[in-house]
Symmetry: C2
Subunit: 351 residues, 2 copies
DNA sequence: CTGAAAGCGCTAACAC
DNA sequence: GTGTTAGCGCTTTCAG
């Protein structure tokens, strides 16, 4: 930092130095610790004094110093929440509900966006550990192994969201639980729905091939195999988007002209495809049935309305946060640490 | 905390106590401060020693304690970012780009979701000040006044996002800048476009009436007044959504049957309305022209494609973060502290 | 280039 | 119910 800056900063600080506990204590002629208690453990201070202290703190504009609190108490009241992306509404809903629960409990949320880096995810998460979170909320079981080494050595509770239902995680941390639903079963259920409609030439189209997409794909394969139908797939690693859905639909029509139904790994792709069908004059579902996954708000308003799998994102976040709060409170993990919140097929006009 | 819990925690901590600078120093027979410097100001330590220290830190699994760093250095390397909602993609895009810039610069982001509380927003923000952020990124000028008192007394730099272009903020903090575009002008431009198409009976439909929506409405009113057209409005305080758009469209048709064009305050409403038009057999744009605002990805894929105003959200976040970094670095605010990043009309099929 | 001393603001533990 | 003492892990002086 340049010299002049430091001086300026110092001058400002000197002019308006933040109020500390000691300042309040001095102004009232009591000890600092009493002020501390009055503010954070009110029942330990006599009502009369407590009131005077709270009033003084208010008047003087006291703002606690979180770093000092965390350092002295060895509790940061902070939870590290990892998500692979902010562009996917699934994770936004997760963050929203997690945030609500944690906020109510007086915890703050540190968000780590790993940008779908896959293998590099852990490095990102690691970078946030310096904040000494009291607990971890992770999406995706691919972090389980590393989290295990870390969390068990630090005795840090972890809850995995949207994971652990399909691949019973062997390397999981001791203080861990899992909240989600079975992506495999969900993929399977949708495929079975399409089969039940009489379709045999059913394609699976995936993009942004992360763990969850591959699991849905597995479910698709299982259902197709069981029905003795030949799988038709288009898998593209590039990020998912409506534009991508439109272009994949075109590719699908070229590559598998006889295909009568398509199961997209998410609604963004499906919605883009729906739009492309309209543009190409492909009638949905008459010429081609289209299904998605996640049940975005837009699915029910598409033309035609989109058949999809509704996933309990908000409830996953809520439950995960609630469980983590208990674990951070010292409770032992449940004997059955896997919470299956299920999913629902939403059959609409497109398939 | 129950007694047993505390003991368990303590036992675990004793077993695997986190590595401190002192531990590394001891293992190498140097002083703690040298280790500190080797890790955070490498140029101040001889290359040979530095290398040994870094290796040891790595081997021992050292993780710095952010609270201790912040407390000792009086810099938290944390930025408080306030958004009114996570359900609105506008703010997600903002967070995404802000996050990218800050992460690169080694800052962490503390997200404060104020849930469109309006007047209560400041209380929420206040609650995060205990983390002693080095800077503030706020959305909405309604926080300017309170931020001014606070920030100037704390010498905290602030950048306002999506604000300050319409209502020259008088009470702004000294160390403040503004990044956004004129919502009023944007609302006006869209209305003028509809007027230019020959429409006279143009309605404005708003929901979730926050500052920005009201500003767009102002622009609409200005354009209508200038054209000598009578304004038709439906304003609903409830949260915005596609479902709400559908129901507001119905209400509009009932209340103003002769209306030929409608300007929705955002794309969510407009997309829901488009769907409802389809359901009601209202041909767009023939029977009714429909326009939105924000240019969501879905706008270009709607049927028919949706005319909207494209807003530079990602660029706003990026610029705001960049400017805040400079301010936190001690630079003086620009003489012209208002950054107008403009907007673009995206004329498509619906209007 | 390296080190010693002091202290950031707060809370845990133990008095009284 | 209130106070005293000590220390959390690190960085900032200021010395050499």
């Amino acid at each position: 930092m340049p010299r002049s800056t430091r001086q300026a900063r110092h001058a400002a600080a000197a002019a308006h130095r933040p109020v500390r506990l000691q300042d309040i204590a001095d102004s009232l002629g009591v000890s600092m610790i009493t002020v501390s208690r009055a503010l954070s453990q009110p029942h330990k201070v006599s009502p009369a004094l407590r009131e005077r202290i709270v009033a003084a703190a208010d008047r003087m504009g006291y703002v606690p110093n979180h770093s000092a609190q965390a350092l002295a108490s060895a509790r940061s009241r902070t939870v590290l929440v990892q998500v692979p992306s902010l562009s996917n509404i699934v994770f936004i809903d997760l963050l929203e509900s997690v945030g609500r629960v944690l906020q109510t409990a007086g915890y703050h949320m540190l968000i780590c966006n790993t940008h779908y880096r896959g293998a590099g995810d852990w490095e990102r998460v690691r970078n946030y550990l310096k904040h000494k979170p009291d607990g971890l909320l992770l999406t995706g079981s691919h972090l389980a192994e590393q989290a295990a080494t870390l969390a068990s050595s630090l005795a840090l509770p972890v809850v995995f969201m949207m994971a652990g239902l399909d691949d019973p995680v062997t390397q999981a941390p001791e203080l861990a639980e899992f909240v989600g639903f079975s992506q495999v079963q969900a993929g399977r259920a949708m495929t079975e729905h399409l089969l039940a409609q009489g379709h045999r030439r059913i394609a699976f189209v995936g993009a942004q091939l992360d763990v969850r997409v591959l699991q849905r794909h597995q479910g698709y394969l299982q259902a197709m195999a069981q029905a003795g139908a030949e799988p038709l797939e288009i898998m593209d690693e590039r990020p998912s988007s409506m534009a991508m859905g439109a272009s994949l639909l075109t590719r699908l029509r070229q590559r598998h002209a006889d295909c009568t139904a398509v199961f997209f790994c998410n609604d963004d792709l499906a919605l883009g495809a729906l739009s492309q069908c309209h543009a190409l004059g492909v009638r949905v579902p008459h010429d081609m049935a289209v299904a998605g996954f996640n049940d975005l708000p837009a699915a029910a308003f598409a033309v035609p309305t989109l058949t999809s799998v509704h996933t309990p994102r908000a409830r996953v976040g809520e439950r995960a946060a609630q469980r983590l709060l208990r674990l951070m409170d010292g409770e032992a993990p449940l004997a059955q640490p896997v919470h299956d919140l299920g999913f629902e097929l939403r059959v609409r006009a497109s398939a």
